[in-house]
């Protein structure tokens, strides 16, 4: 039944390892992104917002030393005495806002161009004014607010970047591998030749699955290895090994996309175009490059059709959020279900020959 599985897997694996272009795109290229993102966002806290104070602003000037230090962590305050020049600087976007105080009135001039920053400035200064009011009243505060982060304090960019980029790398490898093998074997008539040999279809398909899974696990090992070097400092949580079955399920799902593209496309060029059209938007919308939480709600809803979205969620859960293995079973189910449905479609479109 499975005659041909061994030799065909070997032939495919050798073909992959000897192809510099696919090695580059499945391993080196995503790794370059990992190095870039991991290095770029290293130690990247929230950058300070710069504002101007016009002349004397007692609300700020008279802050106690510890409160001033707290303020300096989020706002960099620079003093200008020329009011016109200060307002012009805000208008040009060099500073987020300019503050002046006229007696008991604190006036904030801001630009609406960067709403997030000006909003931050407004609420911080609002808080300052309220605190000053409260202090002026001489009554001790009744309520106090203490903040505490839920994650390990070491949660750095690399923790988020690694699972997302790894997911993208696996998606690229599995979709391209499946579609290009299918199209080029059909075009070169290897499929036809295999049909005339005693090798059976399940053996041919399983050989490709084995090779793709092997490549995906190789990508995982290389990614985790590189991200774990002290410079990047990836720290895996206890159940990281759940990444292995997750990667296997996801590879099947991505392969089914590749098989569908390969069954439909006539040439290698059109197969890669189709796969690129699917994989790149999928990677963006599934949060491989940018956190999916920043995307509008409807896009997040739409992105649920992508297997990569579920892989990324699940990988974050078990690799860095420290969720137990059972937490990702739903995602594994979704990935496998996706694989079955799309591979079924591919089978329906499948052709042994061009004509």
């Amino acid at each position: 039944m499975m005659r041909g599985l061994g030799p065909l897997s070997k032939a495919m694996l050798l073909g992959f390892l000897r192809d510099r272009v696919s090695l580059f795109f499945t391993i080196i290229f995503p790794l370059m992104f990992l190095v870039l993102f991991g290095g770029l966002f290293k130690d990247a806290g929230v950058s300070q917002t710069e504002i101007l104070q016009i002349g004397a602003v007692p609300v700020i000037d008279q802050l106690p030393a510890d409160a001033r230090a707290e303020l300096d962590r989020v706002l960099k305050v620079e003093r200008r005495d020329d009011r016109q020049a200060a307002l012009e600087a805000v208008r040009e976007g060099d500073f987020a806002a300019a503050v002046e105080q006229d007696g008991d009135r604190v006036i904030v001039h801001y630009s609406a161009a960067d709403q997030v920053r000006s909003g931050t400035v407004r609420s911080i200064l609002d808080l300052l004014v309220q605190e000053s009011n409260q202090a002026a009243s001489g009554v001790p505060p009744k309520y106090s607010l203490d903040l505490s982060q839920v994650e390990d304090e070491s949660l750095e960019a690399i923790q988020f970047v690694t699972p997302g980029l790894l997911g993208w790398a696996i998606a690229t490898g599995a979709t391209f591998g499946a579609s290009l093998t299918l199209v080029s074997w059909r075009r070169k008539r290897i499929l036809r030749r295999l049909r005339l040999s005693p090798a059976r279809v399940p053996a041919i398909v399983l050989a490709r699955v084995l090779v793709s899974v092997l490549i995906a696990l190789g990508q995982t090992a290389i990614f985790l290895g590189v991200a774990s070097v002290p410079y990047f400092g990836l720290r895996l949580s206890g159940y990281w090994w759940m990444a292995v079955p997750l990667v296997v399920c996801a590879t099947l799902a991505f392969m089914s996309i590749g098989l569908l593209a390969g069954a439909w496309a006539k040439t290698e060029e059109s197969a890669s175009a189709i796969v690129n059209l699917v994989v790149l938007p999928m990677a963006f919308l599934s949060g491989s490059f940018i956190p999916a939480d920043n995307l509008p709600g409807w896009i997040r809803t739409v992105s649920n059709v992508f297997p990569l979205k579920h892989l990324n969620d699940a990988m974050l859960d078990v690799m860095v959020r420290g969720q137990p293995p059972t937490a990702v079973l739903p995602q594994m189910g979704i990935l496998l279900g996706f694989a079955v449905v799309v591979a079924g479609l591919a089978m329906w479109l499948f052709r042994w020959d061009d004509v």
């Binding site: 050798l14 073909g15 070169k188 005693p198």
Partner: protein
């Protein structure tokens, strides 16, 4: 006795085009059988139906007495198919290619390497298939078709796109394949190839078999004239016309050609006149048979 291949009234249409339009023939065990015809004659479709790659619209095909369609796993190890062009795995060496195919049939490395030796590719064993020359690729693909020692081999235009030297080298290999008792079915659009190799030839055009028989018999059956040529000016045209009644004489300034159904007396007369300078004698070929059958020049 069961014929190795028995084809009866096979038809296949693609839309309005009848690719195969009622083809019948039989191939005997050990025979070197040729299917000859220009491109688009229906040779490839006919072969594909016989090999079991396509289903005929009507008619029957039997190989070793059983039907090749639907895919018949019991039949597959007994037949070897060489496909047009290079059906090779990407980026594998010649040895890896043949060992992979051998393994599909449960054949070991030793036999695979021996097959590589037989087609003269041992010194190219570690060369990737993409880097082989056209003739070497053809020999490798023939080796891939033979690696499991099939009783029946299909060769689809094995010498297409080869230079004349490489073609003749390949002919020797093809004769050897047949001389060990295998049945060989060869499709080709080269008339000289069919003439040189095949025991019997089916001449196809427009999806039909126009004529079937041994090449020599087909040519003889034409009773086409033999063309005796000598260098132009070896003797005057007027004198040449007197040699034999019924013979036609032409002088194109290069050769003086006498077309005759009885070349013996003509040659004797030329020898008498000491006019044999630049002599060539050309009998009818399959090309003339084709011309006779279709009324038009053979276009490959």
């Amino acid at each position: 006795m069961v014929e190795t291949i028995q084809v009866d009234d096979v038809r296949k249409r693609y839309g309005d085009v009848a690719a195969v339009d009622g083809v019948s023939f039989a191939v005997r065990e050990g025979e070197f059988f040729g299917i000859l015809g220009p491109n688009g004659a229906g040779k490839t479709t006919t072969l594909e139906i016989i090999e079991g790659l396509r289903k005929a619209d009507s008619g029957t095909v039997r190989i070793f007495g059983t039907s090749p369609w639907p895919r018949n796993p019991a039949l597959l190890p007994r037949i070897g198919v060489q496909l047009q062009a290079s059906s090779f795995f990407e980026r594998l060496t010649a040895r890896e290619q043949i060992r992979t195919f051998a393994a599909l049939y449960g054949v070991g490395h030793a036999r695979a390497d021996a097959m590589l030796e037989e087609v003269g590719l041992t010194d190219k064993a570690n060369t990737r298939s993409e880097k082989l020359s056209g003739g070497q690729m053809q020999r490798l693909s023939i080796a891939l078709a033979l690696v499991h020692d099939p009783e029946l081999v299909f060769l689809d235009e094995p010498t297409a796109a080869l230079d004349p030297q490489a073609r003749r080298n390949l002919w020797d290999l093809l004769r050897r394949i047949n001389s060990t008792g295998r049945t060989v079915v060869l499709s080709t659009h080269y008339l000289d190839e069919a003439e040189a190799l095949c025991d019997r030839v089916a001449i196809m055009d427009h999806g039909r078999v126009l004529e079937l028989g041994a090449p020599a018999a087909l040519v003889r059956g034409l009773s086409a004239p033999t063309r005796v040529a000598v260098a132009s000016g070896a003797l005057p045209v007027e004198e040449a016309r007197t040699i034999q009644d019924g013979a036609t004489v032409e002088d194109d300034g290069v050769s003086l050609t006498i077309a005759t159904t009885e070349p013996g007396p003509v040659l004797a007369a030329l020898a008498e006149r000491d006019a044999l300078h630049g002599l060539s004698v050309r009998g009818a070929t399959l090309e003339d048979v084709f011309l006779h059958l279709t009324g038009r020049e053979y276009r490959a």
